[in-house]
């Protein structure tokens, strides 16, 4: 099957790329939100919302997704040392946008020992904490299909996005001081192709399509898991961040934390909201009022030294200097 170049968002990652030249559709015209008041399209192209679905129950931990990610994005992760765990590298890095995280879980209900593997990476939140925190105009944008992308040429390397993110995803390059994370292969999606990781996944644990299609597929998968004894199977599409464009099917959706600390109810931290909200509003108001107020008061009133003050000072100084003089009168 070949994706039609006329289709606004790809419906699958499995299809072969189009053979005719395709004009990318994820430029400035599709930007619906931009950090720090950066430019957004006046009438953004309405692209069909997309989503990546990661079904952890199907994942075999082969890391093909990681390899595909590195290959497509042409990153060069540092070659590390084996420290006796499956994760490689140990954490997300500026060169590794996605990471298989492995957890060993002793299920107290079934007595089973379970190996839980989760593909970690940017969740592409509908309400992105990184974008809220970012001070650089246009360094983080959100497209009408839901993809949240970092525009490195506008990034100033402050690291605020790292603090804003509820999932601890962005990483700053040590050499270029630019923030990086999964782009959901925006450069592939723009031309009708699904993300590299989804394309490479041998078990279809990673699938890609419209958000509606993926939600429906997830519901099917949850039903199947429930029929096989996973009573708590469910979809992870957290409401706290307005839903995400990367979703999980979890066999233990009641305990997301067991999948290497997947947050139970992720949302933009209250501290971050206060920092980017009231602190600015009240801070700017207070500083503005103080500046204007003191300017007005400074123009209208003043405290002057009077001529008699000078005279009294002279008296005090003269008297004190002359041992014969009577002591200074008390004023």
């Amino acid at each position: 099957m070949t994706v039609s170049p006329m289709m606004d968002s790809p419906r699958t990652a499995a299809a072969n790329p189009p053979v005719q030249p395709v004009q990318g559709n994820m430029g400035q015209a599709a930007v619906v939100r931009s950090s720090a008041g950066g430019p957004v399209a006046a009438e953004p192209t309405a692209l069909t919302p997309v989503a990546k679905l990661i079904d952890v129950s199907k994942c075999i931990g082969c890391k093909a997704c990681q390899s595909a990610c590195v290959e497509w994005n042409d990153t060069h992760p540092e070659i590390g040392a084996n420290v006796g765990v499956y994760e490689n590298p140990l954490d997300l890095t500026p060169d590794m946008y996605t990471l298989m995280r492995f957890a060993e879980y002793d299920n107290p209900d079934s007595g089973d020992f379970e190996w839980l593997i989760r593909k970690d990476g940017c969740m592409h939140c509908a309400e992105p904490g990184c974008l809220t925190a970012c001070p650089a105009p246009g360094a983080i944008v959100q497209y009408s299909n839901g993809i949240v992308d970092f525009i490195q040429e506008n990034c100033i390397g402050c690291g605020y996005c790292v603090s804003g993110c509820p999932f601890d995803i962005p990483r700053l390059g040590r050499a270029d001081h630019k923030a990086y994370k999964c782009t959901l292969c925006s450069d592939r999606v723009a031309v009708g192709q699904g993300p590299a990781c989804a394309k490479a996944c041998p078990t279809k644990a990673i699938t890609f399509g419209t958000k509606d299609d993926m939600t429906a597929l997830a519901a099917e998968r949850v039903e199947d898991l429930k029929s096989r004894g996973y009573d708590n199977a469910g979809i992870y599409d957290p409401e706290g961040v307005g839903g995400t464009h990367v979703m999980y099917v979890l066999h233990h959706a009641d305990k997301p934390g067991i999948y290497n600390d997947l947050p139970e109810n992720p949302q933009i931290a209250g501290v971050v909201e206060n920092w980017k909200g009231p602190t600015k509003t009240f801070g700017l108001a207070a500083m503005g009022l103080a500046a204007v107020g003191s300017l007005v008061m400074g123009l209208m009133t003043r405290s002057d030294v009077e001529a008699e003050d000078e005279q009294r000072a002279a008296d005090m100084v003269d008297r004190a200097a002359d041992p014969a003089a009577p002591p200074e009168e008390q004023v």
Binding site: H177, A269, V271, W275, M287, E310
Partner: protein
């Protein structure tokens, strides 16, 4: 010679006709202005990150990236410079009973009835307040600033702690700018004050009106001066 209580070494009556009083030495003034300039540069560069409407200020420093790496270094200079100033001045900024009287009669300060206020040493309550506000805010800003200095300390604190540091840093920055506005305003409003930090000297009348205990101490110290 009268022991110094209210005056710094170096403070003295420079001339008697008209009376002129030395208030700050050259190094202290240099120290003050380095602190002042760095604080203003920090405010301007910090504003760029504080609100998108002020991001254009980063252009003054050569763009967002340059502003991002420069700001913390200016902060280090400010911190060191202020600490030098602090070591010279803290002794004269300790709150005394008369400062509370001065504060409770603040209306007389504004309306110019200084004759109803207690006599003061080198600093009044307002000046002491600015001094200690600057001290504590700079301390909070440098500590929270290091925590959010991503270029060199990416792993110093947890993500949660860094969020608190970011909020603390921006709130403290607002407070220190308010303190700075108060400081600049008071220096202009109280005529004759500015020259203390420019030429280092104030008029006798200014000293008599605003810091009489300080002037009296210096006046008494003249007696042995001819021998010096």
């Amino acid at each position: 010679m009268a022991r110094r209580v209210y005056s710094e070494p170096g403070d003295r009556i420079v001339s008697r006709d008209p009376v002129e009083v030395k208030r700050y030495g050259g190094l202290t003034r240099l120290n003050h202005w380095v602190t002042a300039i760095t604080l203003i540069l920090l405010a301007l560069s910090g504003f760029a990150f504080f609100d998108p409407s002020l991001y254009w200020l980063s252009g003054l420093f050569g763009g967002g990236e340059t502003t991002r790496w420069l700001h913390p270094f200016i902060g280090i200079v400010l911190f060191l410079s202020f600490m030098l100033l602090f070591l010279q001045l803290w002794r004269y900024n300790i709150m005394r009973r008369e400062d509370l009287v001065w504060l409770s009669n603040f209306r007389d300060v504004v309306s110019g009835h200084e004759e109803r206020l207690p006599e003061l040493g080198k600093y009044n309550f307002g000046q002491k307040f600015v001094f200690w506000a600057m001290f504590w805010l700079i301390l909070v800003l440098i500590i929270s600033g290091v925590m959010i200095w991503y270029q060199f300390f990416p792993d110093l604190v947890s993500v949660e702690t860094r969020r608190i540091a970011l909020l603390t840093h921006s709130v403290s920055a607002v407070l220190i700018i308010l303190t700075l506005i108060l400081h600049i305003f008071a220096a202009f409003w109280t005529r004759g004050t500015l020259q203390a930090m420019v030429s280092g000297r104030v008029t006798g009348g200014w000293a008599w009106r605003h810091h009489r205990k300080w002037l009296r101490e210096l006046a008494r110290r003249q007696r042995a001066d001819p021998a010096e």
